[in-house]
Symmetry: C2
Subunit: 450 residues, 2 copies
């Protein structure tokens, strides 16, 4: 990919913002001082890496590492303190060293901060696109794998939708057909748990591991977890003895090890901590420490390149995911019934309850052929609707208990099931069947809070 | 309360179920054998303690402690193996011993399993209504407090609505006016965190502690946490040096101690474990161990009976609480705007994000004077919408960042704020003001996962 063209000088800027940069001859990567009516701001002019909806801000990276957008209307002048290097300069042609007999790993990028690298001179962050970039950022990768890389999407993970899961599944299926030894998917952390669950269902009978990885701190911050997570993910994809969809992220707040979390049992539990991801109602399959994979589970599907992948990549996006809470209006349920949705997943309270005044609306939903699945907002533990009368009433209405599935996983699973059948009996049976580790036979006490 | 009348023989049974019990002369409390077409079931015939919507089941308590409802249509015969004692027999007139100088504690019951006691002969569970009952069940209570008790509601906590919070606040205000030294509220565990948050806002300038307590295992099971939780709650209400709304529940899986969790920062995180309740993004105020209160926090409002309560018991129930997830349809937001709701709390992803395709719907909401508050489904951590472009876009639309508030608490708080003002500026200012410990100035790393 060539990056020598001049458009890089104002990379990503349009409209008023582009005009003002051109006027003051300030380029992306320059250290600039922006004067406004009230103050002077100094920082590195950074590119607008993502598709922006407005074009009236100039963005600089401050010394403290944070980005700040300044509205064009407030800018009196911009002066260039120091010219920056061009962004995405040609990297020096250093030889990439990797073992010729190393396993082949495909890295599919969907976006998120892990797929970026910092230009240390300009302070700007931009995507690390190709294998050489990655080997430059994390040279140890060459010890473990021959990489092939591609950008599938470049979006924030909050913008990932079920149709992205379908495309991603198809891409991974291609890689598997090509005979790679493992796949790494770089992904924003916000919805990584939803996506890892989706791919766990879409990729049945998996021959090699599929490893989701992200980072909680972008690679331009000293506390970044990006390099270690990426290295651990590549090691897992290259060498793990299992063939599961997993999420590889920091296991602790320090840089000691990463966990391999089962794709259907993992959740982001903290907005910013590096060890935010935890296995819920189960335990991690393995950990990666000092370049080695230490298995924590004995019951896993071994990798076997001769196993034939069964691709079921479709998701029915007419499923509603509704949290039940004190005062929830029944008209939320009515809306989805009126609009002919195909399924509803409730995130109920406790052992699987919802206010009784919702029962009529839920009854109507089920009578109209809309399956309703119950999960718990407690997150940990298992649905048991036999204990209290209110739970038994819901069972009598036909509500399907979600066992110990994460609410998010149950939502993804119902979309996957509905893409295969609309028969209420089959839906129930499939929701109660363990396809990808989403239901464990027994919930153990010690798994509480990871 | 007299319980000698004959209606107790068939307590709570009506319709077909009552008919069949009368036919076979089986009374509540009897050990019975029920014959169906396929099997014979043995257990104690138990009363239908709650208002039931159907009258066609006979319920027995099996040997394993679980209750089983048998549909009348399946019953061929019922035979009485052993007559039970009458339920709620006159308790023996044992003297209740309590210190005359003990603090006065008011117990307000709203329902839930903690407000029950088991008849060990019949195995049935029924409400422990009055102080004498409680002293009989937990005789140690007399060492700590003079109790006055009353039933305010007798409902499962999943059926608690904002109007119940208002009534409960008014009842507690009465107790405070009467000069009690502390109040205990027994409450089902499902929505206890919502209610404790609601009362934290409704009871401003509190002079004495208000202690929510529940139990995760009903008092007829050997592993019940009811007695220890209740005792710890009464000790807290009677003796704690602070005047906060707290939740008192088991601190560990064994019976070692209970925690006093701040009412706005507590959440049920497990469907069944006794230590399911955890303080989120903060730490417990105190623990209660061996009858003593050990303070864990130095910054608390001291109890002071001269402090004048400010009662703000109203909640605006036109607030929607919406989880954001991959594929969420914008029409959910549209529904609430079209129906002229007064506020929306989003449970977003990560640092406070939602799919960008929701932006138009959210923009319209805010333009129509509906405040939108952002929280995170991560549960732990703090909203920071400045880090990524998608967050900044939401801030630009006018979305109010929920800081480190629990989503549930932010929902309750917005209802409380909207009952006081509909002015968008004031709403924003109040949502960002700490009224009852719901916003901490700094989130500490070690508070992750309690």
């Amino acid at each position: 990919m060539s990056n020598k063209d001049d458009s890089n000088l104002f990379s990503g800027y349009h409209g008023l913002a582009l005009n003002i940069l051109q006027k003051f001859d300030a380029h992306v990567g320059d250290r600039v001082k922006i004067e406004t009516d009230s103050k002077a701001l100094e920082g590195i002019l950074i590119p607008r890496a993502e598709l922006t909806t407005t074009h009236d801000h100039v963005v600089i990276k401050l010394k403290n590492g944070y980005n700040l957008g300044v509205h064009v209307s407030k800018i009196k002048s911009i002066s260039v303190i120091e010219r920056g290097r061009m962004l995405r300069p040609e990297l020096p042609e250093i030889p990439v060293s990797y073992r010729e007999d190393a396993p082949e790993v495909s890295i599919v990028s969907t976006g998120g901060t892990i797929a970026s690298r910092v230009d240390y001179q300009s302070g700007a962050v931009y995507p690390a696109l190709d294998a050489r970039d990655l080997y430059n950022v994390v040279p140890e990768l060459g010890d473990y794998a021959k990489l092939k890389t591609r950008f599938l999407f470049n979006i924030f993970s909050e913008n990932i939708t079920p149709s992205h899961w379908t495309k991603l599944a198809a891409e991974i299926a291609k890689d598997i057909q090509d005979g790679v030894d493992g796949i790494v998917v770089t992904h924003g952390t916000d919805t990584m748990g939803y996506s890892s669950a989706a791919l766990s269902f879409a990729l049945q009978n998996l021959p090699v591991p599929v490893v989701f990885v992200g980072s909680q701190r972008s690679s331009d911050r000293p506390s970044s977890d990006a390099a270690m997570n990426l290295l651990s993910a590549v090691i897992t994809a290259a060498n793990a003895p299992f063939a599961h969809v997993v999420v590889v992220m920091h296991g602790t707040e320090d840089d000691k090890f990463c966990y391999c979390h089962p794709g259907t049992k993992v959740r982001k539990n903290h907005t910013s901590k590096r060890d935010a991801f935890r296995t819920i109602n189960d335990y991690p399959i393995a950990k990666v420490e000092n370049g080695r994979i230490i298995m924590l589970k004995k019951d896993f599907v071994p990798r076997d390149k001769k196993r034939e992948l069964v691709l079921k990549p479709k998701f029915d996006n007419r499923v509603a995911f509704v949290k039940a809470y004190p005062g929830i209006p029944p008209e939320i349920i009515d809306l989805f019934v009126d609009k002919k949705y195909h399924g509803i997943v409730l995130e109920g309270t406790g052992l699987g309850h919802a206010p009784e005044y919702l029962n009529d609306a839920l009854k109507r939903a089920i009578e109209e052929g809309i399956p309703v699945v119950m999960t718990s907002q407690c997150i940990w533990g298992r649905i048991n609707m036999y204990v209290y009368r209110t739970g038994r009433q819901l069972l009598n209405l036909g509500v399907i208990p979600g066992e110990d599935m994460l609410p998010e996983t149950a939502y993804v699973k119902l979309m996957w099931v509905l893409a295969q059948t609309r028969d209420m009996k089959e839906i129930r049976s499939m929701m109660l069947t363990n396809f990808a580790g989403e239901i464990t036979p027994q919930t153990r006490s010690k798994e509480f809070l990871g």
